[in-house]
Amino acid sequence: MMRALLIPALMFALFGCGEKSQSQADARDSGDQQAWQGANDPFVTKGWTAGNRTEWERQVRSRTQNQNEYIRINGS
């Protein structure tokens, strides 16, 4: 009887000690629009279509790669 009461009581007491998973897969749905959906302003770059995730990823990847001057300038 005592054990039956103690176990749920302990579980309740330790409930606040947990930590939420922060993995990308568990990213909270905050209602935020995804970046690949594009922005409602006149500064969107050319070369990709808003709403097309693959194109957006390619655009960002190539832009990131542009920071590598060994490729950007030397072409090596």
């Binding site: 594009g38 969107v44 990847r61 990131t64 920071q67």
Partner: protein, 209 residues
Amino acid sequence: MARMKFICDAERCIECNACVTACKNENEVPWGVNRRRVVTINDGLVGQEKSISVACMHCSDAPCMAVCPVDCFYRSEEGVVLHDKNICIGCGYCSYACPFGAPQFPSNGTFGLRGKMDKCTFCAGGPEENGSKAEFEKYGRNRLAEGKLPACAEMCSTKALLGGDGDVLADIFRDRVVHRGKGSEVWGWGTAYGKLPDPKAKPAPEKKS
């Protein structure tokens, strides 16, 4: 899926503070709040002075997210740690938890009242509509949704500060290390946690006094 990261190359940073200025300008960050800053050690010592640009590192296991009592933080699909100012109560727990001092608090209210937390958003805005006026006023520009990268990284003249997909950044850094012919020794387990114990090493004999 890309995971966005920053990295700053201490061999290249010249402490010009262009990243700080770019961030301030692009996001119209209020007076007293610095989402990014340049930290210099051994200032003035020839050959020993090193600078790095620091802001929110968008940690994979973010302590700010773990300690927030109102759960205002969230992570975008690209791994960017963002927060909702409508939920933030300005308690400052995140500021104590963050090892980089990223969370900032405007204190221009009555009696220096601490406002809602502000931090680097990786130029990814916030939970408002992408590119909207409301988003800009609360969080700054959403450059990611414009197909761009953070202004600080793209503005960096020496390309010390890199921002973008972590895998690509790792490739860029590897390229640099190969071209420099040095640097690989300063990365890795030994640097982060101390050298691995040598199994052949024998303990030094104790001195008898």
